[in-house]
């Protein structure tokens, strides 16, 4: 049910950011206390690679930056 989450290495993140020519801030976000992030021990500032089954594309990859969940 839960798609595959992996913490990306620094190099991988660098190539990712270069591929889309974006900064950290332009990545989609995920909270640090997300169950899937806790499971793979992701820290704030990590980038998580998510590989999920897609209805349209078969397999789709997404990348998310771990951020701290704001209070409230």
């Amino acid at each position: 049910m839960v798609p595959d989450h992996q913490v990306m290495s620094e190099d991988e993140v660098k190539t990712l950011l270069a591929r889309y020519s974006i900064t950290f801030e332009q990545l989609p976000k995920i909270y640090h206390d997300d169950a899937a992030v806790k499971q793979i021990n992701g820290k704030v500032g990590d980038v998580i690679q998510i590989v999920r089954q897609s209805q349209t594309a078969g397999i789709a990859e997404a990348y998310r930056l771990v951020i701290r969940r704001p209070k409230k």
């Binding site: 889309y20 974006i22 801030e25 332009q26 990545l27 989609p28 897609s54 209805q55 349209t56 594309a57 078969g58 789709a60 990859e61 997404a62 990348y63 704001p70 209070k71 409230k72």
Partner: protein, 881 residues
């Protein structure tokens, strides 16, 4: 235009009394506006220093005229402080989290460490809330016992004292509150998420009130010469009056009771001045009884400053009128009344190449007496941007004058591209670009085939038309927004434009079974079509008269090389398909653009289905497809006119035998229901799994009666064949269904509320016409009559109940889906697919790494799939797959 810049940061703060006084140009003390000569009172609400609105006068502050003076703020010194309604929530929070004596936060340093994780940025949103502070305790700093602070809408605060076990409420005046807020130290405020440099909490209690410039509350002069003041001015007058009286009473040493009353009155006026829709506060009203539109009301809601004036505006170069149909127009055209074509213009730059043409336009001027006269021009714009209105005697002189560099505003003429729109604009096909056709009459005319994307009909609908004013806009309209580019809907990847109603009935009548036409008949059908020669006649009689088949006629509008095999809507899905031998002629086979067998109906050419249209788009392109729609609409209308088509009350008549059968069927069903009720009452009914016996009985009754109704429909359908217009429309898919026919000729059936038989009404019965506890069919909304036969009074009442539910549902659904749509649009409107296939916001933030995860355009796909494999295989093998 200056290049866009990124906003670094925005600071939100409160206006301090000091700031209010600094920005004020005048202290306002008089409630009056104008003296008897109509001249503003100095230090009155219309003081000349606050800006001017009357032409001719000059502003005392900036010495500019009405058009240039932006207006300047004044101020009112309030006799006593009052609470700003907009900040009552904040005030309540601050009163509850700080000490009533020393003003410190009710937390010890250790506790502060625990609850607030110091955020990286100064005001990161991680702030203390009321919940972080324990109730009923002493101040950790000074030991003062805290009291509970009660807040009563709109602006009353009170402390709760415990005296001899009794609770006593002690009111806090705004002055008390202000004193308490003043005591809160800056360092504690930062923990609460407040920046004390720009927002000291005591500034939420007003001691001085800014008076907005006259320019934002202009008075208007009525026809009778009387001045009518703006609502804001009225409210300010009230405030100043009460304030004056308050001051006088205070100076005279009036009793505390009077002072308190006046204070409350001042609070009321300031509150309603800021927001006239606060809960628990009667709105201030105009003399006529209309509630005043004060500051908050100017900003809030649909017609407020944000949604009404900034996000939405009225535009120029637009027209609106009623729409009506014209099947002879192309779907890409729109008929525009002459009166509108004369009024609206397109700017054309004069160049060396078109100067002669432009001269002619100018010479013709703005008058255009009839459709036959070519269009003229309304304005000429000189290179120095001066506008010259054409008309009267200046035509010749201006025509002489123009040279390259001038701009001529030419009237609309045939072929101009315009945007056409019908609200609500729920999807992109609600605005499409059409080519103009100038016509007589006063309505916009459009081909009925473009009704589905606009969701338009002709019962009085109005539509808007916009004329693009630049080359870029016209190019965009022609390439992206044109009707033929929007035949396919991105919603489901199929054609949304196509035949409706009479188009489908007509093409069905024309192509059903095999018919033969004489030369004059076929020429009548094809009179207005472009084709070089008639096909070879399909049949020649012995005497030499040639005949063409109806399938040949339809084939003329098909492109050559088209191969298709499919089943029409009239197909009933027999267990074993007889293919070409289908007795309903529902097996459509098109080989090389020739219709071999089958009937053309909704499945082939209808909006939302349009199998043939879909294939033409994929194989021959949008241009050919729009031609096909034009040809198809014209042919089908001619087709329906050969035989004529109508529906009358006697089309619902059945013969005596059918009525007898229906009667039998219904009485059998009623007996069955009664039998089941008896079984239930004897307690013999075997309940279904997970249901009570009552529920089981209800389900059985619904089922029995539903079947009975369907059988009456079958009886009626057997009698009324394809010769009946309603049957024809239902079978071809043009309009209505067999159920509608069943209800007209056979039996209306069970009326329901929330999917159940009608149970509400009196005690244990729906109406006093029935015995208590009657579970019979007729006692709970079964209508055994037909619409034609007529309903009994009780049946009529049940029918109204069932009908009302439908109406309520639609009303609720539209409002809910409208709000949902608004929120979705607000969230998604600026997203864009970039050249690298990512979906991003305007700031470049990624939303999707590939549009739709596979990067395909749903419009270019085939009903949801990226490629229409089945269709391609079929068109090559020429057999059904």
């Amino acid at each position: 235009m200056p290049s866009p810049k990124r906003i670094g940061k925005i600071k939100f703060g409160l206006l301090s009394p000091k700031e209010i006084r600094t920005m004020s140009v005048r202290k306002i003390i008089w409630a009056d506006t104008y003296d008897d000569d109509g001249f503003p009172y100095p230090q009155g609400l219309m003081d000349l220093a606050l800006g001017v609105i009357d032409p001719g006068l000059r502003c005392k502050t900036c010495d500019q005229k009405a058009a240039d003076c932006p207006g300047h703020f004044g101020h009112i010194e309030l006799a006593k402080p009052v609470i700003h309604v907009g900040y009552t929530r904040l005030i309540r929070k601050l009163l509850r989290v700080t000490c009533r004596a020393c003003g410190r936060l009710l937390l010890s340093p250790d506790e502060i460490q625990k609850v607030s994780i110091t955020a990286e940025d100064e005001f990161g949103g991680d702030v203390l809330t009321e919940k972080d502070i324990k109730k009923e305790r002493a101040c950790p700093h000074c030991g003062e016992l805290q009291l509970k602070v009660n807040f009563e809408k709109p602006t009353t605060f009170s402390e709760v004292l415990l005296e001899d076990g009794k609770k006593i409420e002690h009111k806090l005046t705004p002055a008390d509150i202000r004193a308490r807020l003043e005591r809160i130290p800056d360092s504690d405020l930062r923990l609460l998420g407040i920046n004390p440099d720009v927002a000291r909490p005591e500034w939420t209690i007003l001691t001085v009130l800014p008076v907005p410039p006259v320019t934002m509350r202009p008075s208007i002069i009525l026809e009778n010469g009387q001045r009518s003041e703006d609502d804001l001015t009225h409210k300010l007058v009230d405030i100043i009056r009460i304030n004056q009286r308050f001051k006088e009473n205070q100076d005279a040493g009036a009793p505390q009771l009077i002072i308190e009353d006046l204070w409350e009155l001042l609070q009321y006026h300031v509150t309603t001045y800021l927001d006239n829709e606060v809960a628990g506060c009667p709105p201030a009203r105009h003399r006529s009884g209309r509630p005043l539109k004060t500051l908050s009301q100017r900003l809030k809601g649909k017609d407020g400053r944000f949604r009404g004036s900034l996000s939405g505006k009225r535009v120029n170069f637009s027209a609106r009128t009623v729409i009506s149909p014209n099947p002879n127009l192309s779907v890409t055209e729109v008929g525009v009344p002459l009166s509108i074509a004369i009024e609206m213009t397109v700017p054309i730059r004069v160049t060396a190449h078109n100067i002669e043409e432009m001269r002619e336009l100018v010479l013709r001027g703005p008058e255009r007496k009839s459709l036959k006269v070519p269009c003229g021009a309304n304005y000429v714009i000189r290179p120095d941007n001066r506008r010259l209105r054409l008309g009267g005697d200046n035509l010749e002189t201006i025509a002489e004058q123009i040279e390259p560099g001038y701009t001529v505003e030419r009237q609309l003429r045939d072929g101009d591209i315009v945007l056409f729109n019908r609200q609500p604009s729920l999807h992109r096909m609600s605005i499409m670009a059409h080519r103009i056709k100038v016509m007589d009459g006063k309505t916009f005319r459009l081909n009925p085939a473009v009704c589905p994307p606009y969701n338009a009909d002709f019962d009085g609908d109005e539509m808007n038309l916009h004329v693009p004013q630049t080359e870029e806009a016209r190019a965009e309209a022609a390439i992206l927004i044109a009707v033929q580019e929007n035949i396919l809907s991105p919603r489901f990847g199929g054609p949304i434009i196509g035949g409706i109603h009479d188009h489908i009935s007509g093409i069905f009548m024309l192509t059903h079974d095999l018919r033969w036409f004489t030369k004059s008949e076929i020429l009548y059908l094809l009179k207005y079509f472009e084709f070089e020669h008639l096909p070879e006649p399909g049949k020649v009689e012995e005497d030499g008269t040639p005949f063409w088949s109806n399938k040949q006629v339809f084939s003329i509008i098909l492109p050559t090389g088209l191969n298709m095999v499919f089943r029409a809507s009239s197909c009933v899905n027999c267990d074993e398909c007889k293919d070409e031998g289908c007795e309903r002629d529902a097996f459509v086979r098109i080989i090389d653009g020739q219709l071999q067998t089958g009937t053309i109906d909704k499945k082939s050419i209808g909006a939302f289905d349009g199998a043939i249209l879909n294939r033409i788009i994929r194989q021959y392109g949008m241009e050919r497809a729009s031609h096909f729609i034009d040809d198809m609409t014209r042919l089908s209308i001619r087709g329906i006119m050969i035989d004529g088509f109508s529906f009358g009350i006697d089309d619902e008549d059945l013969s005596r035998t059918e009525y007898g059968q229906i009667e039998d069927e219904l009485s059998k069903a009623e007996d069955d229901v009664d039998r089941r009720i008896r079984i239930f009452q004897e307690g013999q009914l075997e309940p279904m799994p997970g249901r009570t016996p009552e529920e089981t009985l209800e389900m059985q009754i619904m089922q029995v009666l539903g079947k009975a109704r369907d059988r009456t429909g079958e009886i009626a359908g057997r009698h009324l064949g394809l010769g009946n217009s309603a049957v024809l429309m239902a079978v071809s898919g043009a309009r209505g269904s067999m159920l509608n026919l069943t209800q007209m000729a056979g039996c209306i059936g069970q009326q329901s509320v929330r999917g159940e038989r009608i149970m509400r009404g009196y005690e244990e019965r729906t109406l006093p016409h029935y015995r208590r506890g009657d579970r019979g069919a007729d006692a709970h909304g079964f209508i055994k009559h037909s619409y034609k036969g007529g309903l009994s009074p009780t049946e009529f009442f049940f029918h109204a109940i069932g009908g009302r539910e439908g109406l309520v549902d639609t009303a609720v659904r539209t409002s809910q889906s409208g709000y949902l749509q608004r929120r979705l649009i607000n969230a998604l409107q600026d997203l864009k697919v970039e050249y690298d296939g990512t979906v991003r916001t305007t700031m470049g933030r990624i939303i999707q790494y590939q549009y739709g995860e596979d990067g395909t355009d749903p419009m270019k796909g085939a009903f949801g799939d990226p490629v229409d494999v089945k269709g391609i295989v079929e068109s090559i093998l020429k057999v059904e797959v």
